[in-house]
Amino acid sequence: MTHDPDVFSAFEGIVPGEERSTSSGRLAAAWPAVLAFLAVLVVWEGLTRALSVQQFILPKPSEIVRSFFATSGVIWGAGLRTLQEAIGGLFVGVVSGVAMALVTTRWIGLRSGLMPFAIAANSVPIVALAPIFNQWFSITSPISKVAVVAVVVFFPVMINTARGLLEVDDSEIELMRSFAASPRTVMLRIRIPRALPYFFSALKVASALSLIAAIVSEYFGGPQDVLGQYIVNRAQLFQFADAWAAIAVASILGIAMYGAILVLERVAMPWHVSFREPQSS
């Protein structure tokens, strides 16, 4: 369940700058999605009632909503702790991924030495390491979850950032050479700004991965007051509406992280093609 196709595409490398939007257009564009979402809920409610679907197969949306508000203190508390693990791991993974990308781009020898291992390690299903990390970092400590998240997030961030750092026009390099610019200057003035779109594309994928990794690593045991354990426990007690309510919290947190990254992206690179207002000329 950890690898849906979208997430997996991160490992192939992402070409950024495909989504285009304007502020007024985005609100208008949101309506069909809202309507579709409501329609799905209505059909879901109607079908589960009409076919009397058992709640352990699929609870009614109305039951999930009731549980969502009835247990809100518990599920949001659990969500917050899971979010902390996800963000902690995301931070560690992103910082080390970017550092590794910078180092391997700056020194070609390191690149040829390390990249094959990075790419090989990339195809290891890292979540499978969760039980081992529980041993290493103590099952009761959030560090064991943070570590899983960090390792999961590291590779897409590193590989995509490195790709962005290297994807620079020859003419830009020649131009900088004509200015007798040092490699450090080329890195700061050209490579890093050029890599930003790649970095943010990777970060969007990484944020989704971070929640997945945190919740999955929680399934392997640890404190009970986190989303993963809560979902497992409620499901074992046949309280499926509660489990679904917790899943809703996880989704809301994921969307919130994605939104925060969109804002950050806009602040960091307002110049990018995807943010341009349409030109009349």
Binding site: D169, S171, E172, E174, L175, M176, R177, S178, F179, A180, A181, T185, R189, I190, P193, M269, W271, H272, V273, R276, Q279, S281
Partner: protein
């Protein structure tokens, strides 16, 4: 006149996967200070390679090359070269003024931020883009972007301007306008210009001398001196002397073709 560029028996061989490719053979050429010299020839004649050799972007395989009496590498480190390529190569995340300031920031010249901005404004008015300082590159037309690239290349007052088909991507009207601009800037700044082009009229209109090159391997076929009076303008383009020079360059280019067909 002291010579800005002196090439003696320069050769360049590229080692590729397909084997060795001889790009240039036995190039000897002297370019004087303040001269405007065009390199012209068919694709594969090595004119861009010669420009890159002068600019220390590639190294010669044989012969000797001196720029301002120095090794080209030394000249590059001394920031003797301004370069303009076919693509403007402007940075999207910088305004027009900030793009022009880029070399000054890197070189630490022109004092503080105020000094840099002053130089950038001066260069932008030189290329007649004074009002566009705060625009972003993508808000400008291709011709305007290329002017920004020229302003940037001139910002640190290099003694030599190397231009590699700078107007190749522009439409004919803009192109003629830009040629006029470049001539005016050349006369105002007294910079030595080496200009690569595959357009015969462009080479004749701009240059004091046109170096005609022949391909495989690239050699200097002949050098045509263009003594049309300055300032050159629309009238120059319609003068008989101009057409005569175009014919002379065309024949120099074709002369090679005949010789090759005969061999």
């Amino acid at each position: 006149m002291a010579s800005a560029i002196e090439a003696t028996a320069v050769g360049k061989v590229f080692g590729t996967d397909a084997g060795r490719v001889e790009a240039l053979r036995d190039i000897s050429l002297t370019i004087g200070n303040g001269e405007f010299v065009s390199l012209i020839g068919p694709s594969g004649c090595g004119k861009s390679t010669l420009l890159r050799l002068i600019g220390d972007l590639v190294q010669p395989s044989s012969g000797s090359l001196r720029v301002n009496g120095k090794d080209p590498g030394r000249s590059r480190l001394d920031r003797d070269y301004g370069m303009v390529f076919q693509q403007a190569t402007l940075l999207d995340w910088r305004t027009v003024a900030k793009n022009v300031e880029l070399p000054l920031e890197i070189m630490g010249g022109a004092g503080d931020a105020t000094g840099r901005l002053a130089t950038a404004s001066e260069m932008l008015s030189l290329v007649q883009l004074g009002e566009f300082a705060d625009h972003y590159p993508w808000q400008l037309s291709g011709g305007m972007q290329q002017r920004v690239a020229i302003a940037r290349a001139l910002a640190f007052r290099p003694s030599i301007l190397l231009m590699d088909e700078p107007f190749g991507a522009l439409d004919e009207m803009t192109r003629e306008q830009m040629q006029q601009e470049v001539l005016r800037i050349w006369r105002e700044t007294n910079t030595t210009v080496v200009f690569v082009t595959h357009s015969i009229p462009e080479a004749v209109f701009l240059s004091s001398r046109v170096v005609v090159m022949s391909p495989r391997p690239g050699r200097v076929a002949s050098i045509v001196a263009v003594d049309l009076p300055h300032p050159r303008d629309v009238d120059t383009r319609e003068s008989a002397a101009y057409f005569d020079k175009i014919t002379e360059v065309r024949e120099a280019l074709r002369g090679r073709g005949v010789a090759e067909a005969a061999s």
